[in-house]
């Protein structure tokens, strides 16, 4: 194992140039961690993992490789030839394809239509295209039916469609950005089998992840990125997960463990028979009931899209629902979002740009958001701009928000700092119950530990928490009670002290 930052020479077949080679790539980028001096060499026919913490610069690097922006310096070599990409189109024609973390498929189209969309010139849109898709599907063992409607497909199938979409466009190098984030463990195994099949056929896979055991299971080579630069190139056969983690973080991993129980028997939030339906009558959340006690963290495990977002929005009063919500003994079912917030509901939204911030407004106005009727932000009907500004400075200091001041717009901050501001804002009003959706998504490891610490402290002081997270370690580590949601229903309960992520993952597929 070499911790050398420059694995310049390919390990095998010196006569054959690496499929992809990056030399000294530097990308400056306002507000987020940039890449500097990235060196990377990917052999043909291998699965090459790029690991690093959230925000370490993995995605920036892949966007560079995919032509979505140009590096400030450094060079890209494909099969030994220097290439400058001005757009993803050029990357695609050079044989590089990207499978994004979030699927870009039109639900009401068939697989065939989704795949040919934008690539109509290759094989038309009819029988020839369908033939080609079947051919590719057979060759790489993907098992995709071109006639199926995408909305009928499961998450794993959709991902295979995305992969096929890229192959159809002639990709020889596939970049997969956090492909397992939306999958349960069983689907992950299938994906890995697909990836191995691809490399057997001579394709090259670049696999971006921060999940160490997955990387160690599937990769032929690993490059570690930390703080925007490549810090090590390692052989998966020669490292332990802990060694790899230490390389990624540069120090010991923090843990979300919150074992000493602070659960009381005083209920603070009671949800009874809550159901949410779409305007068309389709059920999103079906007859969900649970109680959160003072000092208790109730975690909800589930694959994204199984009703957890709708459940939280219904409890916040943002989405019409039936059933009863009782907050600290008061029935708030008929109240709007503002009244519920004033009654003591705090909210950390899953998507902070969509529900948590005014990106163009200064930090102190963002500090008001959601609490614009409460001190120190308002006095009666009037705003207290000065009070909000002063309190923002307190939050910036206490929650370690890295910003030049309270007057910069929220858009100028990196994601982690935006999240710290939101956490600070919600905690500042000492909520009785905090609804936290993915509270540490996209934040760096230091901020993650700090956010956990804030949640644990508030829990000790008697706050109840409803926690949703895609990070099963976080969920198991923080929760006192775990519930599994599947297709809008609670299908299982688990004891966080005993359950493993694998068991939880199985339950999340509805087989538990």
């Amino acid at each position: 194992m070499s911790t050398d930052a420059a694995p310049a020479a390919p390990a095998a077949g010196a006569d054959e140039p690496p499929a992809v080679q990056l030399r000294g790539i530097t990308k400056r980028f306002p507000g987020v961690v940039a890449n500097h001096d990235i060196d990377l060499s990917v052999r043909r026919g291998t699965i090459h993992a790029i690991v690093g913490e959230n925000g370490a610069g993995k995605s920036t690097l892949m966007k560079t490789l995919y032509g979505m922006h140009r590096p400030d310096s450094g060079e890209i070599l494909i099969d030994g030839d220097r290439i400058v990409f001005h757009s993803p189109q050029q990357a695609i024609s050079a044989g590089i394809g990207m499978v994004h973390q979030h699927f870009m498929l039109a639900d009401n189209f068939t697989v065939l239509e989704n795949i040919v969309l934008g690539a109509e010139k290759l094989h038309g849109i009819g029988a020839a295209a369908a033939r080609r898709i079947r051919e590719l599907s057979r060759q790489y063992g993907l098992g995709v039916d071109p006639e199926a409607l995408v909305e009928d497909l499961g998450v794993g199938d959709r991902q295979r469609v995305e992969i096929l979409k890229v192959l159809y466009r002639g990709a020889r190098v596939l970049i997969l950005d956090e492909p397992t984030a939306v999958l349960v463990p069983q689907e992950v195994d299938e994906l890995f089998e697909n990836l191995r099949q691809l490399t057997r056929e001579g394709l090259t896979v670049i696999f971006i992840s921060h999940k160490l055991h997955e990387v160690l299971a599937v990769a032929d080579a690993i490059t570690v990125i930390r703080r925007g630069t490549t810090v090590a190139a390692v052989d998966p056969g020669e490292v332990t997960p802990r060694q790899l983690a230490a390389l990624m973080v540069g120090s010991e991993l923090p843990s979300p463990e919150a074992r000493e129980s602070t659960v009381t028997d005083v209920p603070v939030l009671a949800v009874a028979g809550l159901s949410v339906r779409t305007a068309g009558g389709r059920s999103l959340v079906e007859d969900v009931s649970f109680t959160i006690h003072r000092g208790e963290v109730v975690g909800i495990a589930g694959v994204e899209g199984n009703g957890q977002a709708e459940l939280i929005e219904a409890i916040m009063g943002m989405r019409p629902s039936t059933g009863r919500v009782t907050l600290d003994g008061v029935d708030v079912s008929e109240r709007g979002t503002r009244k519920r917030r004033e009654a003591g509901l705090g909210y950390i939204p899953a998507d902070r740009h969509r529900q948590g911030l005014l990106l163009d407004a200064p930090l102190w106005e963002n500090r008001m958001l959601g609490h614009q009727t409460e001190a120190p932000n308002a006095r009666g009907w009037l705003l207290n701009n000065r009070g909000a500004r002063r309190d923002t400075e307190r939050i910036v200091a206490e929650y370690d928000v890295r910003t030049p001041g309270a007057d910069v717009p929220a858009a100028a901050l990196s994601g982690g700092n935006q999240q710290k501001l939101i956490v600070g804002r919600e905690m500042s009003h000492t909520p009785k119950v905090l609804l936290a959706a993915h509270p540490t998504r996209g934040v760096d490891i230091g901020a993650q530990a700090a956010i956990w610490e804030h949640i644990k402290r508030a829990r000790r002081e008697g706050m109840g928490v409803l926690l949703i997270s895609a990070d099963l370690d976080e969920l198991i580590g923080l929760s006192d009670t775990l519930k599994v949601i599947f297709r809008g229903r609670f299908v299982a309960e688990a004891d966080p002290a005993a359950v493993t992520p694998e068991q939880l993952g199985l339950a999340m597929t509805g087989c538990g």
């Binding site: 009244k339 890295r402 700092n417």
Partner: protein
């Protein structure tokens, strides 16, 4: 560079740069038509700054300003009130007719002025409220409905303003208008400009008041915060507890109420009746709001500039220069300003991100970071 300058400098440069670009384009248009731009501009400035012109500019900018504010209220929450025109025409007709109606004659003059203004605001709000209701209950885009309501309002006014209904025909004239308001509800002028024979319309006080109220309500009240938040990020506003539908309704009603004031300076201070010449400012008001970037002071400057261009265009005809050149100037100014502000906004944001980014990548992140001033 210190923090305020990073934000302010591009924003100050933007309008100046935009004006220069507009002047340059107009110069090209002048040169193409074989005119000397220098002569044209200097004669415009000379004529536009005469005392008599200043009075006329101020008077014209009253309506432009109020209209601009009405549009800006909508803009601040991403509502496009294109219906100012219909709203104020109906408002003016209703206010003029009721103000002159016999059954209100017992009111003392000052009170009657208040009632007239109130009626105008209520009618304006009502007409805008139709669009708001359609949007809230049926999801009809206010862009479409307000345009349609302009036509309906226009036809309604034309129908009502006939001698069969609300109109009377002045002696020796073909014009049909509402009856004159009683003299005690005329508002007097203010001799604001020395050496001018005419006076500035007294309604300018109300226009200033509208501007102050606009600034206060939007910047200093919870309602204003909710409105701005809805405009900047509707989903975040909802998550913060704003009732989105109610907010659309309130903002539209407010915009319409202010729009109702647009015709009042003419009605109370100049013509004292609703005439067929009322109308046509609604679209200009959109341009003024864009030009003024929805800021109370900016809209005032935009209204004054517009009125100046309108007024100084008169001299061009006398010099045998096509006065349409002013229309070109007005159009290019709006376009150039919109583009320039967008550019300035981006440059300013990039500067701030760089500074915030510098804070993030300090060598030791555990230490509280100092930002170079």
């Amino acid at each position: 560079m210190s923090a305020p300058w990073v934000r302010l400098l591009p924003r100050l440069l933007a309008p100046v740069g935009a004006l220069l670009i507009a002047a340059a384009i107009s110069s090209i248009a002048l040169l193409i038509s074989n005119q000397d731009p220098a002569t044209a501009f200097s004669s415009m400035i000379e004529y536009g700054t005469r005392p008599e012109s200043l009075v006329s500019i101020l008077n014209r900018s009253i309506d432009l300003y109020i209209g601009g504010v009405a549009v800006a209220i909508g803009f601040r929450m991403n509502l496009f009130n294109i219906g100012v025109d219909g709203q104020y025409r109906l408002a003016s007709l209703a206010a003029a007719s009721l103000g002159a109606a016999p059954f209100l004659q017992w009111l003392p003059g000052v009170l009657r002025i208040l009632v007239i203004v109130l009626i105008a605001m209520v009618v304006g709000a009502f007409w805008a409220g139709v669009a708001a209701l359609l949007k809230v209950t049926r999801g009809v885009s206010e862009v479409i409905s307000t345009i349609m309501l302009n036509f309906i309002g226009g036809q309604l006014v034309a129908y009502l303003l006939t001698t069969n209904h609300l109109g009377v025909q002045a002696k020796g004239s073909n014009d049909v208008a509402t009856p004159l308001l009683p003299k005690d509800s005329w508002i007097s002028g203010i001799p604001l400009i020395p050496d001018a024979r005419s006076e500035v319309n007294g309604f300018i006080v109300v226009a200033v008041g509208v501007g102050v109220a606009y600034w206060f309500v939007l910047g200093r009240t919870r309602f204003g915060f909710d409105l701005r938040a809805s405009g900047q990020n509707a989903t975040s506003a909802v998550a913060s507890g704003v009732n989105a539908r109610r907010m659309v309704l309130y903002a539209m009603l407010l915009s319409g109420a202010v729009a109702g004031l647009v015709g009042m300076s003419q009605l109370l201070g100049e013509r004292h009746a609703h005439t067929t010449s009322v109308g046509g400012l609604g679209f200009t008001a959109i341009g003024i709001a864009l030009l003024g970037r929805n800021s109370p002071v900016g809209i005032a400057l935009a209204a004054l500039l517009w009125a100046f261009l309108d007024r100084s265009a008169l001299i061009l005809d006398l010099n045998e220069i096509p006065k349409e050149i002013v229309t070109i100037m007005q159009g290019t100014t709006v376009l150039a300003v919109v583009v320039a502000y967008e550019l300035a906004e981006r440059i300013s944001r990039r500067g701030q991100q760089r500074r915030a980014g510098a804070t993030v990548s300090e060598p030791d992140p555990r230490q509280p970071s100092e930002v170079p001033a």
